[in-house]
């Protein structure tokens, strides 16, 4: 059996932002009983022993955890490559220095747009200025500290891809990730208000291609198209239970961050070792390999390339997680995706519908 290379540690679902495309679960209030520092340290040792080399620290907002630098330090002591994925709102110079000293390898700062009005509207809170300030501060602290700017693209901001690239260049980012929204969690609720038109996509791809040519040496540009518009589905997680695992704030272990939606038996680091969960648990074995596949996947030449696509998307769109991902043009359910794409292209006015912001219900602020 293959061993995981990467672990996504969702340290907390607390977040100062309210992005309507957030991939976190809708029932955020069910995740309050977070793992302690010691529990995370134990999980990281188990992860390293299982073969994990890269630790992605995310959330929610990982800076909401006061022990973030301590967790980073422990990860580095284990030899893990540490990658922080943050909104940067709470990234003060003091905390940045603390993280730098702890050995944080790479900082990824999210930004919602290239200018304050739109960025703050999408984030649901004034945040743009502080994010840009934080990005500058990272590079001022250490020019060689690798910085990636993350932008989730959708109908409301995709027309500004050119300006986003300019901003990343101006901030001295080493990389920019322009990733179209994936429709899970809150994004699924807001899908029709977020899905861009084909014209918008064509335009942004052209701009990205030209920028790649222009900035070849200077900045790496990652561009992810929405799978609704692609011919084949995305090879989700490089195969179910094959390369990656996710640990949720309360210790749940998942083959992918959205897999809690599938109603499979739960596995928790509070009850079992990470090795047992990876090797033996029903949730990790359910869609491993190619045995579970129906046609057209089973007989498809690409079954070891895209692994039948995304199980969570298949479940979301068809009610059956073991069907071919409807994003694939060969799927018998592809019409469902085509219908959503048609609707997105019928009315090209952005912002026709209101975006539902991510909020934590059932908990006092």
């Amino acid at each position: 059996m293959s061993r995981p290379y990467g672990m996504l540690a969702e340290l907390t679902y607390d977040c100062p932002l309210h992005c309507p495309y957030c991939s976190n679960p809708l029932n955020l209030a069910d995740y309050n009983d977070e793992l302690t520092t010691e529990e995370w340290q134990r999980v990281m040792v188990e992860a390293r022993d299982l073969g994990v080399l890269q630790l992605h620290l995310s959330g929610g907002e990982p800076l909401q955890r006061r022990d973030l630098a301590e967790i980073v330090g422990s990860a580095r002591d284990l030899g893990l490559y540490t990658n922080l994925i943050t909104s940067a709102l709470a990234l003060t110079p003091r905390r940045a220095e603390e993280l730098k000293d702890a050995g944080l390898d790479h900082v990824q700062i999210s930004i919602q747009a290239d200018e304050p009005t739109l960025s703050d509207r999408i984030a649901g809170t004034p945040s743009y200025e502080r994010k840009v300030e934080a990005a500058r501060m990272v590079k001022e602290l250490d020019r060689d500290w690798p910085l990636t700017l993350n932008v989730v693209l959708h109908r409301h901001n995709i027309d500004r891809v050119g300006q986003m690239l300019d901003l990343a260049e101006e901030l001295g980012a080493d990389r920019i990730e322009l990733a179209n929204t994936q429709y899970y969690g809150w994004a699924w609720r807001n899908r029709s208000a977020l899905l861009p038109t084909r014209e918008q996509l064509d335009r942004s791809e052209k701009i990205v291609r030209a920028a790649r040519e222009r900035m070849r040496e200077k900045m790496e540009i990652i561009y992810v198209i929405p799978d609704y518009y692609s011919k084949y589905p995305k090879p989700c997680m490089g195969g179910w239970g094959s390369q990656q695992l996710t640990v949720t704030p309360t210790g749940g272990v998942l083959p992918c961050p959205a897999a809690h939606t599938l109603g499979l038996p739960r596995a928790s680091v509070r009850e079992r070792s990470l090795a047992w969960i990876w090797d033996e648990s029903p949730i990790f074995n359910r869609f491993r390999g190619t045995e579970w596949m129906p046609d057209p996947c089973k007989s498809c030449d690409r079954r070891e390339i895209d692994f039948g696509g995304c199980r969570c998307q298949a479940f979301q769109l068809t009610g059956d997680a073991s069907r071919t991902d409807p994003a694939c043009h060969l799927s018998p359910d592809h019409e469902i995706v085509e219908e959503a794409v048609r609707a997105a292209n019928e009315d090209a006015r952005p912002g026709k519908e209101d975006l539902i912001p991510r909020v934590k219900a059932g908990r006092r602020a």
Binding site: L50, L53, Y81, N83, D105, Q108, D144, R175
Partner: protein
């Protein structure tokens, strides 16, 4: 496109990459933000020499002290491939 690396160039690991030993799979790896590149012993030795101080010619020279047969072109291709993936930075000449 693979670029030709001049002998006087001083290559070094990209700032976002870290050379590491994978104790579970017992192999050398190059870690970067979004990926793990598996290296063989020779690859790890080459990268260990790429410190931004040694020139390409000096790297090859030191390899000749360690291995019987070292082909210039193979080392050049190896580094150029990693440079194209932004794992190696070609430095000053």
């Amino acid at each position: 496109m693979i670029m030709a690396i001049p002998s006087t160039n001083r290559p070094r690991l990209a700032r976002q990459a870290r050379l590491n030993w994978d104790p579970v799979r017992e192999q050398h790896v190059l870690l970067a933000p979004e990926g793990v590149t598996v290296l063989n012993q020779t690859g790890a030795t080459i990268l260990g020499l790429c410190d931004g101080e040694r020139t390409f010619a000096e790297v090859v020279e030191e390899l000749r002290g360690k291995y019987d047969r070292v082909a210039d072109e193979e080392v050049r291709d190896f580094l150029a491939r990693l440079a194209a993936k932004r794992l190696v930075e070609l430095g000053d000449e």
